[in-house]
Symmetry: C2
Subunit: 220 residues, 2 copies
DNA sequence: GATGTAATTTTGATTAGTCAAAATGAGTAA
DNA sequence: TTACTCATTTTGACTAATCAAAATTACATC
């Protein structure tokens, strides 16, 4: 029933909300995230408000209602299950599935989604380690540290990579920074703005802090 | 690049053309097949003509150009491969895949399509026995007889079922009239407008001629 | 040839989604 | 207070896709 466009707006809003205090998202950041002109976002937010999918206070910001969040999580579930499917069943590379899923997430029926979920054995995360919401709309919230802040010298395991960019993901792959890989942070240099990690037998890899911040790890 | 709407118009036009002499399709039948008002079809045909996807002579009819046919066959290929995939890989029933494919055919990239094709072992027909166009746009044209006209008493094999309706397909399934099944036409009664067929050990099944005409068979 | 019918095209409107640019307003600095 | 700045909203316009209903036209019939 909701259009592809509406689904994308809601999904974006959900993701933005996760990073804001009081879940309130400014029109400016919303428009930028969706990739439309500010006035377009204002217009769309008003129609979403009419459909009771968001709450909106002029000049204050916008936030999802419960119905809106439910829908957003449903889209997110489709997106991530599709990504996992494309990698596990069709053998695509994790660096190329995001744009595919961005389209397919709007074309998968509940029935097909359920079959995919089954075929994959009800996975909890997608190829990037992003948690897959349950059909009921629950999202596991692990509190993960990033390579930029975790303890030095402790054995860690990569759990999640916070960037869908194709080039970034290929780089992460080549550097052995993919979900499931065990490693330790060898050193951190604030002046050089760099972090050095070692994964098993591999050569140590040094990356800038902004990249380190996108690799989330859990204790092992 | 072409919209979902354009893809559907072209696919429909291709299928209609197959049934007309000189490949010329009247506006009335085109509009009806797509399910829009006559004026809507006229408007769309004009924009398709601007894109050189169809030839159009006012009050005469419309026909695909080579470029239009190429595109139509590409959509048809996606549609049928998706149907086959849904049945073979995800285990959906052949009676329910058509509407799913009607949406998914617009959301599958060339890359994903190639992987699906590979995973399925390059099938030549979809679950209904419809031929799957090659990537180059070639369609195998078998000349099949239907149960309404084939020879009586000869061993035959069901090759294709010409109706995507869910209820019809469930009925065909229950009657054992699915692609691959061997059978013989026992008798044909013009007065009763009925055809009786027997498949292996099963009880004989009698159907009306209009149904018999939708079940295509090949000699075995 | 005149006329009637039915298919087709044209016209006028509508909805969803979008942008550019003008108008507005809330908060900051003076 | 008064001004200024920058985010936000409003306005006016556009495209794709659609429909209902009026106008046109090709064709068959008388
Ligand atoms: Mn999307
Ligand atoms: Mn992902
Ligand atoms: Mn379709
Ligand atoms: Mn089919």
């Amino acid at each position: 029933m909701p259009s592809t466009t509406v689904e994308d707006y809601l999904k974006r809003l959900y993701m933005l909300q996760q990073q804001t205090e009081r879940r309130l998202v400014s029109m400016g950041s919303f428009a930028a995230a969706v990739g439309v002109a500010p006035g377009t976002a204002t217009a769309m937010v008003k129609t979403l408000e009419d459909s009771r999918l968001v709450e909106y206070e002029s000049r204050q910001g916008v936030r999802l209602t419960d119905a809106g969040e439910r829908l957003a999580l449903h889209v997110l579930r489709r997106h991530r299950l599709v990504e996992q499917f494309l990698v596990e069943v069709l053998g695509l590379d994790w660096s190329e599935v995001h744009p595919e899923a961005e389209v397919l997430e709007h074309a998968i029926s509940d029935k097909v989604l359920a079959r995919i979920d089954e075929l994959l054995g009800h996975p909890e995360v997608d190829p990037h380690g992003d948690p897959i919401p349950t059909p009921a709309g629950d999202v596991a919230d692990r509190t993960l540290a990033s390579l930029a802040e975790c303890e030095i010298g402790q054995p860690m395991r990569v759990a999640q990579v916070l960037d869908q960019d194709e080039r970034f993901l290929r780089f992460a792959d080549e550097s052995g920074l993919t979900p499931g890989i065990d490693l330790t942070v060898e050193s951190r240099d604030d002046v050089a703005d760099a972090v050095t990690v070692r994964a098993g037998e591999r050569d140590a890899v040094t990356v800038g802090t902004s990249v380190a911040a996108k690799i989330l790890v859990e204790g092992v």
